[in-house]
């Protein structure tokens, strides 16, 4: 046996341990690997450290760690149409089969024609009529089953992938990073609360009870077997958009969030409300400025006014004035999707 061998062994062991240590330290120090180093990433990390380090002047007790996320355009792709609107359009044939009298009346006639240009031109009230007809009038269980079935089959027109795969990897990392630090993460969406709840747990790790969305009433009744069930009604209880977002947060959560993430004018009030609380607050806006990897429809893109609508220049100014952090998809995100 070579007398230096034990020394070499020890050195090898130490070297190995150092590697493992370095790998762990790196993993610990980079909870957001899909983010480029920059203002946005730094803002998230600094916020989490300030609010979760015992003894920090900005420490937030675990019970008060509430973070709210808009969904469409903030957690997943919202172009060319909200996934929920595609669901509703896809439901029209089955709806007409059940109620044949609808085939001759607008806007169902246009949807059935398959004329994409005509469908794209449908007015907001026409669209609302389609949403009401396809999202209500059935039991909660039937609705959940229909949405689950649709999501398993439907594909996004550009990437030819299920919608639930079109979530932004950097935002998924933020969700996990916040949860690992004791934050309860909520979705606060203008979309349908029941719609989003069908996939929120599998897609984002967010349970249904942590989804706040536009919600209608339900009606309690009994089936032929005597078993009670709930029917979805067209009566609107909560329009969870713009001022409706803080109102919905109060109704379902009852606490002011400490952190909020959005991407459009519909998120303005949620971000203001979050930021207006005491202590450390994080308000972030996703800017869609990456036409190559996703879409560009932010204020700095020189797009026609119709496309800028969801993130008007006024919102950009407000972000700068009120200390909200703008996330540039193009510059802040190393990767956009997990399948890249």
């Amino acid at each position: 046996m070579n007398p230096v061998s034990p020394f070499r062994q020890a050195r090898a062991l130490l070297f190995g341990a150092a590697l493992v240590f370095a790998a762990n330290a790196f993993a610990q120090s980079d909870p957001l690997p899909s983010w480029n180093d920059g203002t946005a990433k730094k803002a998230v990390v600094a916020f989490v450290q300030a609010t979760t380090t015992q003894g920090s002047p900005q420490f937030v007790p675990p019970a008060e760690r509430i973070a709210t996320f808009d969904q469409d355009g903030t957690l997943w792709v919202e172009q060319p149409l909200y996934a929920q609107v595609m669901y509703c359009l896809d439901r029209v044939p089955a709806l007409v089969k059940a109620k044949p009298e609808l085939a001759k009346s607008e806007p169902f006639k246009t949807v059935l024609s398959g004329d994409r240009a005509a469908i794209a031109r449908l007015s907001l009230p026409a669209l609302e009529k389609i949403l009401a007809a396809t999202l209500t009038g059935m039991s909660v269980d039937e609705f959940n089953a229909e949405v689950t079935k649709w999501l398993a089959e439907a594909k996004d027109p550009r990437w030819k992938k299920p919608f639930t795969e079109l979530t932004y990897l950097p935002m998924q990392e933020v969700l996990k990073y916040l949860r690992a630090n004791g934050y309860k993460t909520y979705i606060v969406t203008g979309g349908g609360q029941d719609f989003v709840r069908t996939y929120s747990e599998a897609t984002y790790g967010i349970p249904p009870e942590q989804v706040v969305g536009t919600a209608g009433g339900t009606k309690y009744g009994y089936g032929k077997d005597g078993k009670p069930f709930l029917t979805k009604e067209p009566r609107l209880l909560l329009n969870d958009d713009k001022a409706g977002k803080p109102e919905g947060i109060h109704l379902l959560i009852g606490r002011r969030p400490v952190a909020a993430f959005g991407n459009s004018a519909g998120d303005q009030q949620m971000l203001e409300y979050t930021k207006a609380g005491d202590g450390a607050r994080l308000a972030m806006l996703v800017l869609h400025d990456d036409a190559r990897r996703e879409y560009a429809y932010g204020p700095a893109q020189g797009l026609p006014a119709s496309k800028v609508g969801t993130f008007p220049p006024a919102l950009y100014s407000q972000a700068q004035k009120q200390g909200w952090t703008v996330i540039s998809m193009k510059n802040d995100w190393k990767r956009v999707f997990s399948f890249e």
Copy 2:
């Protein structure tokens, strides 16, 4: 040194260890020490074991472990008046000071008179007028501060103790036992959601986001300092009683509970809805049959119809038919309050 001494020491250590082991085993085997052995206690323990033991045919995944509790009469005393109604009556003088024109109009005039018999005779619409006037029209923060202040000072007329001390110890044990086994515990109350949320965490260990109650709308606006705030409006969004309970559960939780606890006709639909789900289900009704330690106003007390109203004989029959477990305060509870 005595040669037997090490042996004695070892024996003493073993004996000590055995005592600690026995104490732990006892603590583990009796999560409900304030309950007498009987059908009700056995039902709770059997349900928890069946739904949380890996491999059990009735195993419920942690994410689906939702248990809902009515509050008034189920978790704390509801006689002679709901605490929230006492709060509203106590708020009338301050309300009239702010709006002197109310002093001459009913029902405020009667409340101000201090004539207890006349106040007790107020009609339901009169009471609703008082509730609307005292629970709305101020900011959410002002309301929380007022309720917190009142709860710190107000005393129950019989026990001369703060209302938050009049919770039932056996039910507090059930809450903790369920939570220790991965259940999320919710309050589902006909009382005001915002009212109960002010003390639910300190009193029951239930955070505000796990309180479902009767809820009005709020209105988002800006103060003189430009800061946004929410104002409580008289517009009713959710009447969380009877059929409103499952509707409220769907709106705020989005899952069917696995266990539910109530004490009155207002809880009938919540219990039915819970029990109608697949697998193991626990539905329990607290029967107030203990006039000495609390109150007796259940169906078996030979009380006048007016007193039986909250737990009519029909509900008792339904409990027996549908396999709900009736909890007799008199027979099932060793202790009622923690201060006994």
